[in-house]
Amino acid sequence: MQSEVMFAGFGGQGILLSAKILAHAAMEEGREVAWVPSYGPEMRGGTAYCTVVVSDRLIGSPIIRNPMHLVAMNRPSLEKFAAQVKPGGVILVNSSLIDINSGRSDVDELRVPVNDIAVKLGSVRSANIVALAAFVARSKIVAIDTLRACVETEFSKKKKLIPLNMAAVEEGCKAAA
C-alpha cells in the first residue's frame, strides 16, 4: 500500500517543514518514505510544493503526478493541484486564504481556517502545523501520537516553540473532527 501527500503553498508558509515532519512520523512507524521537494525557478516567490510518499514497500518512482492527498495552503496551489488528486483522497483547504473550493465531489474536502487558528494560538507561523495535524487526523496516515512526538523532536532545538506547535497539533485535530 502506498499513498502520497502533496503540500503546496507560498514560499514562506512552512510547506517543506510540515512535509518533513509527516515523512519523519511515517518513518518512525516503520514505513518507507520519500520527501520530494520542488526545487528550481519557482522557489523565489511563487508557489512551492513538496510531496511525501509513504509506502509499505521499497518506493519506486518518487515523482508523483497524481497524489493521493493534497494540503493546499493558498489559492494558487488549490487551483493548480486539486484536479490531480486521486479519487477518494483528502484535500485540505486553508480556508483562511482560499475562498473557492476544490470543485471535486470524489474526494474528502476538509476546509480549515488554519491561519486564523494559528493567529489565535499566538503566531501565524504555526499555520503549517495546524494544517498538518488536521490533515493527519482526517487521513489517519500516521497516528496522532507519532505526529506529536515528531513535532516535539523537530523543535527540540528551539524549545520555546514547542508549546505553540503542540497546541497547533491539538487545534488541528479538533478542526478535523
Binding site: K20, A23, A34, P37, Y39, S61, I63
Partner: protein, 356 residues
C-alpha cells in the same frame, strides 16, 4: 545505528566523514550546494578542512594537491562545474592520485537548468578528460545507496590510485529518505608512503617521492598508458556492479536504466505486471565499468524481443547498451532531458508500444 531522515546532499557529506574523509573543497552550484553548507558546519567541529574554492578549476586542483599529499579528499559539483574540472581529472588519472568526485547532474547543455538530469553519462564514462583517461563511476538510485557508494568510493579510489566519481541526478541530492549509516570505515589510505608527496620526514624515508603526469619519452609514456589501461581492464573484471529486477521469469522487453530513472521504471514494471506484461530490468550500479555481459545475456534470453535504454538524456547509455547487445536484439532508446523525470505512465506507454 537507527534510521535518520536526511536530504541526499547532506547524507553524502555525512557519508564522506564516516568514510574517514575530513577534507572537502568545493564551489557552490545548484542542485548540490547543501553538501557544502552541511560540511561548512560539520567539518570545523571535527577539526577537518572545509574550503570554498574560488572556482571549480581551482577546486579540482586543490583536490589534486590534497590527494597528492596522500590524504582522503573529495569534492561535489554539478554538470557545468564538472566540465571545468576536466583538465584536472585527466591530470589526476595520469598522476594516479585517488580522490572522490560527486556530480549531482542538472539539465544541460550550457547553463541548461537546475532540475534532475542524466545527460553527463557519456562525459563521465568516456570523455571526462583528454588522453586515455577513465574514472570508476558509481550511480546511486537513492539516498541510502548514495551513502553506501560514497563510503565505497574512497577505498576504491585508493585501490586503483584513480579518481572515482559518484554520478547522481538532482533528485538524489534534493530528496529526503531514511538512511542508516554504516559504521565508520576503519581502513586508512594504504601504502600511500610508496607514492604520496607527504614529506620524507613523514615517511621516515630518504627516498623522495615524485608525482607527475609528464613523460616526454614516447616509449615511457606508452608504458605508462599501458599501466593505466591495465587498471581500467582490472576494473572491468573486478568492479562491475548491477541489480536485476523481474528477470527470473520470461520477459518480452528488457529495460536498462539507472539512478532515479530506474526507480520510475521499477514502478512501471510492477504496474505492467498487473496488466500481464512482463518486463525485466538491469540497473547498472557502476556505469563505468558497464555491466556488458549481464546486459548481453539478459538480452539474449529467448523470450526477450527488444532492449530499451531508458535515461534522462537524449540517448547516451544506449551506446553502451548497443555495444553490449551486439546486434542480438533491437535496441531502443526512451528518454527526456530537461528536468522533468518521466513518469511511470510515460514509461509504460513507451514499453507497451515496444511490446506491441
Amino acid at each position: 545505528m537507527s534510521k535518520v531522515l536526511m536530504k541526499g546532499n547532506e547524507a553524502i557529506g555525512e557519508a564522506a566523514i564516516r568514510a574517514g574523509c575530513l577534507n572537502y573543497f568545493a564551489y557552490p552550484i545548484t542542485p548540490q550546494s547543501e553538501v557544502a553548507e552541511y560540511l561548512s558546519r560539520r567539518l570545523p567541529e571535527m577539526g577537518g578542512v572545509f574550503l570554498q574554492g574560488e572556482s571549480e578549476v581551482a577546486v579540482s586542483y586543490m583536490i589534486f594537491g590534497a590527494a597528492a599529499a596522500g590524504e582522503r579528499v573529495f569534492t561535489t559539483s554539478s554538470s557545468p562545474g564538472i566540465s571545468l574540472m576536466s583538465e584536472a581529472i585527466s591530470y589526476m588519472v595520469g598522476a594516479q592520485c585517488p580522490a572522490v568526485l560527486v556530480n549531482i547532474m542538472r539539465g544541460g547543455p550550457g547553463l541548461g537548468g537546475i532540475l534532475p538530469s542524466q545527460a553527463d553519462y557519456l562525459q563521465a564514462t568516456k570523455g571526462i578528460g583528454h588522453g586515455d583517461c577513465r574514472l570508476l563511476v558509481l550511480a546511486p538510485a537513492g539516498v541510502q545507496e548514495a551513502v553506501e557508494m560514497v563510503m565505497m568510493a574512497f577505498p576504491l579510489a585508493e585501490k586503483y590510485r584513480n579518481p572515482v566519481m559518484i554520478l547522481g541526478d538532482g533528485l538524489i541530492g534534493q530528496m529526503m529518505e531514511p538512511v542508516e549509516f554504516p559504521d565508520h570505515l576503519k581502513t586508512a589510505p594504504s601504502n600511500k608512503n610508496d607514492w604520496a608527496v607527504n614529506g620524507m620526514e613523514t615517511r621516515k624515508s630518504d627516498r623522495r617521492n615524485l608525482i607527475r603526469s609528464l613523460y616526454l619519452d614516447p616509449e615511457e609514456l606508452n608504458e605508462h598508458n599501458l599501466i593505466l589501461k591495465a587498471k581500467y581492464d582490472r576494473m572491468k573484471k573486478e568492479e562491475v556492479r548491477f541489480e536485476v529486477y523481474n528477470t527470473d521469469g520470461d520477459y518480452g522487453v528488457l529495460i536498462v536504466s539507472y539512478g532515479t530513472m530506474s526507480r520510475v521504471c521499477r514502478t512501471a514494471i510492477d504496474q505492467l505486471k498487473e496488466r500481464g506484461i512482463e518486463v525485466g530490468m538491469i540497473r547498472p550500479q557502476t556505469v563505468f565499468p558497464f555491466p556488458e555481459t549481464a546486459v548481453e545475456e539478459a538480452a539474449a534470453k529467448k523470450s526477450c524481443r527488444v532492449v530499451a535504454s531508458i535515461e534522462m538524456s537524449m540517448g547516451q547509455m544506449v551506446e553502451d547498451v548497443e555495444r553490449a547487445v551486439k546486434g542480438k536484439r533491437p535496441v531502443q532508446w526512451y528518454g527526456k532531458c530537461g528536468g522533468d523525470v518521466p513518469t511511470p505512465e510515460e514509461v509504460m506507454t513507451f514499453v507497451t508500444s515496444l511490446a506491441a
